[in-house]
């Protein structure tokens, strides 16, 4: 046992000494690849102020003693993140990507944008761009990488029928109480897409509200209170209570039935409304929405305002007998302007703003 462990440790040391197995992850190759060197720069920036300075020296090819060691540590970190991404992407097969792109559209939110990429630039190019994006997420926001991994796993599990048992319980409940979804059938008679989507949203909201009422009844301990009263009550009161409970069971069954795959459009509307409710509850500290991030980006595009702030910064630095540092100013300005950089939309519009900012010329 001990010998085996020693052998394993020796192998690990030899592997580390041998450097990366993948030649594209050698330092020289990384610095030649614009995408990978951007990732390395992010890792250096996260490291410390010293890392940011090292990034500058690397760009100018002015490395000092000790820099190679620091660069190698950053490279190893990058290698780890890239391996994590590759592992995650193994489960994102072309079929999986097509399934995600082909999923029913959410009225007013998703009008087939993923499909537009797959059809317009091809599945391979779409997947290659997603891979680059996920590598960037792995470096900039590892927590989001875990969320992505979890969601890919859930889609896979759902497609393989892992949640089928629960669906069967829901179906049994629905059958037991002889519930009929005549309302859904009526809605599907509506030919106009917008009107049908509105009617579906109305039905889903009504059922969710009834479900919420039953949840309040139960969490309020009403069942136990009723039971005590019933023992002393009249037969008519008991029968009334029985009807009430049957009504509640029908409300629960009716809401859960929306989650089944019977009608994809119903399920999508239900998922969308549930997510809206969930996002509204988590609004505090939540990532910026698409519309919020886009607005922020547009409002910030103002070369004159950026120049005014630069002049102010320069004056303050000189007053404090310091040399104005343009790179530092740009980084601080970007952070200040784009606010909380959480979520994919704020990250995307933040990167766009950074790109626009690169075009602004500041007088030293």
């Amino acid at each position: 046992m001990a010998i085996e462990e020693l052998k394993k440790a020796k192998r690990e040391i030899q592997e580390q000494e041998a450097g990366p197995k993948d030649p594209t992850l050698e330092l020289g190759a990384i610095t030649q690849d614009p995408h990978r060197s951007e990732l390395l720069n992010h890792i250096l920036e996260q490291d410390s102020d010293e890392g940011a300075q090292l990034k500058e020296r690397l760009a100018k090819n002015e490395l000092r003693e000790g820099d190679i060691g620091r660069l190698e540590r950053a490279r190893q970190k990058l290698e780890e993140r890239i391996h994590a991404t590759k592992k995650l992407l193994e489960s994102l097969t072309a079929e999986q990507l097509a399934n995600i792109a082909d999923a029913e559209n959410i009225p007013g939110k998703d009008e087939g944008y993923m499909k537009s990429f797959v059809n317009g630039i091809g599945a391979d190019r779409t997947r290659a761009l997603i891979e680059k994006h996920i590598e960037l997420v792995a470096v900039k926001a590892p927590d989001r990488l875990k969320e992505i991994e979890e969601r890919i796993r859930r889609v896979e599990a759902y497609q393989q029928g892992e949640y089928r048992t629960k669906d069967e319980q829901v179906e049994a409940l629905y059958q037991k109480y002889g519930l009929k979804d005549s309302n859904v059938a009526e809605i599907f008679q509506i030919q106009d897409n917008t009107k049908r989507a509105d009617a579906l949203r109305g039905l889903v909201k009504e059922r969710m509200s009834r479900f919420g009422r039953v949840a309040n009844f139960l969490t309020g301990g009403m069942l136990a209170t009723d039971r005590a009263t019933l023992l002393l009550g009249q037969r008519s009161a008991m029968e009334e209570k029985l009807n009430e409970l049957n009504g509640y069971l029908a409300d629960v069954g009716g809401a859960l039935n929306l989650s089944l795959d019977e009608h994809k459009e119903v399920r999508q509307t239900f998922v969308h409304e549930l997510k809206n409710e969930n996002d509204a509850e988590a609004k505090e500290g939540a990532p910026l929405s698409f519309a919020e991030a886009a607005q922020l980006f547009s409002q910030n595009i103002d070369a004159e305002a950026a120049n005014d702030e630069w002049e102010q910064y320069k004056a303050e630095q000189r007053k404090a007998s310091k040399r104005p540092d343009e790179a530092k100013f740009r980084a601080a300005y970007l952070k200040k302007r784009m606010g909380r950089a959480r979520g994919s939309w704020s990250s995307l519009f933040g990167s766009m703003f950074e790109d626009v900012l690169k075009g602004y010329k500041f007088v030293a």
Binding site: A103, Y113, M114, I121, R153, Q169, L218, G253, S298, L348
Partner: protein, 96 residues
């Protein structure tokens, strides 16, 4: 400022959210952005789609768990009422 950003700002300022989304997902417009931004655009739409599908599944499953638990509680409540009615029947028969 690059022309593509001028156009994008115009769509954000004058159009709807759907117009902005359609602008970014148009392959001809996409090709005009730098490579790294192209990856972020496609990747962000992918993340959103994944959030709606994978994230949605998680929320629905929690909802189902809650609903099944609620149905079981209500079933228990129903049994108690049915038992009370049966007891009432016996009481009434004995009193006859």
């Amino acid at each position: 400022m690059d022309d593509i950003y001028v156009q994008l700002k115009g769509v954000i300022d004058r159009g709807t959210e759907q117009d902005v989304r359609a602008f970014l997902s148009n392959p001809d417009n996409l090709a005009k952005f730098p490579q790294s931004i192209q990856a972020e655009i496609v990747g962000s739409f992918f993340e959103e789609r994944l959030d709606d599908t994978g994230g949605g599944i998680g929320i629905v499953e929690r909802y189902k768990d809650q609903g099944i638990k609620m149905a079981n509680e209500l079933e228990g409540g129903k049994r108690a009422v049915e038992d009370a009615i049966k007891a009432k029947d016996i009481q009434e028969k004995l009193a006859e």
